[in-house]
């Protein structure tokens, strides 16, 4: 999945992924978790999406990922959810597209091409979220 877009009330999410792993970072309060919640809503009807966040803290995240193929996997609260072993697994996983919301690229073998921030743009009464290169 190279693109993902959805609408949630007055919000539009329009993401284009340039890499297998997109790390979404940036200041607090920019809307990252809001965007996550809009993508998670799509899980109800789109089996190609898997969303994980701090509510999955006690689960075996690596186990879940290793049983998943061909999905957009969106992980919020990644800095507390992903241990080193899971990060290494993700870095080598070519079967899924990852959107990782966090600030620590450790063990993901990321370069600046993997680092993005959220851009919010007002369009009339709507707010559109897109991705922009972080560096």
């Amino acid at each position: 999945m190279k693109k993902f877009s959805t609408i949630h009330s007055s919000f539009i999410v329009d993401f284009t992924f340039q890499n297998n792993i997109t790390i979404l970072m940036g200041d607090s309060g920019t809307g990252k978790t809001a965007a996550f919640s809009f993508i998670r809503e799509c899980m109800a009807i789109n089996p190609q999406i898997l969303c994980l966040n701090y509510l999955d803290y006690q689960k075996n995240i690596k186990g879940i990922l290793s049983e998943t193929e061909g999905k957009l996997i969106v992980i919020d609260n990644a800095d507390i959810l992903l241990n080193d072993e899971t990060r290494k697994y993700i870095s080598l996983d070519d079967k899924n597209q990852y959107l990782i919301i966090g600030r620590n690229p450790k063990n993901l073998f990321a370069t600046k091409e993997n680092l993005y921030e959220l851009v919010s743009e007002k369009i009339g009464e709507q707010t559109k979220f897109t991705l922009k290169s972080y560096l």
Binding site: S10, F11, M25, G26, D27, S28, G29, T30, G31, K32, T33, A34, Y54, Y57, N77, D79, I80, G102, R103, N104, K106, S120, E125, T127
Partner: protein, 147 residues
């Protein structure tokens, strides 16, 4: 000033360590919210506190439950309202770190460097003791030192 741990095993046994700031805020800190939170919420999330449990969305100005604050903002509020506990600081963006480092007291932990560009003095604590660090480079060096 705040006190920083770089290893959660350095935290004294009689201090509680909180990693899930979202959950802790939603279940505990929310009950203590008062006017002291207003400036912090405005500074970090660029939003207004409308009441004890309501904020105004920065995007469409609708009223939202206070649980929609960012994890970074919740972390700073957790530290401020519970200065005897240690909170994970890994979910703080630069804007939240700037406010966090300016708090009068509180304890935080991260295994890797989380430093705002414009930092105040901080205390760092390991099993071997405590010391005060005044500048960015010195703090970065402390974080990079072998444990």
């Amino acid at each position: 000033m705040i006190t920083i741990f770089k290893d959660k095993y350095d935290i004294p046994k009689d201090m509680e360590y909180v990693e899930l700031n979202d959950l802790f805020f939603n279940q505990n800190t929310v009950l203590l919210i008062d006017e002291r939170a207003e400036k912090i919420i405005e500074a970090i999330d660029n939003t207004k506190l409308l009441g004890k449990y309501k904020i105004c969305s920065r995007f469409n100005e609708v009223a939202l439950d206070i649980d929609r604050l960012s994890a970074g903002c919740k972390t700073v509020l957790n530290v401020m309202y519970y200065p005897e506990k240690v909170f994970c600081m890994k979910e703080c963006g630069d804007n939240a770190l700037e406010v966090l480092y300016g708090l009068d007291r509180g304890y935080v932990c991260s295994e890797y460097a989380m430093i705002p560009f414009d930092m105040d003095d901080v205390e760092v604590q390991e099993k071997s003791g405590k010391r005060i660090i005044h500048d960015y480079e010195e703090l970065k060096e402390w974080w990079q030192d072998e444990k």
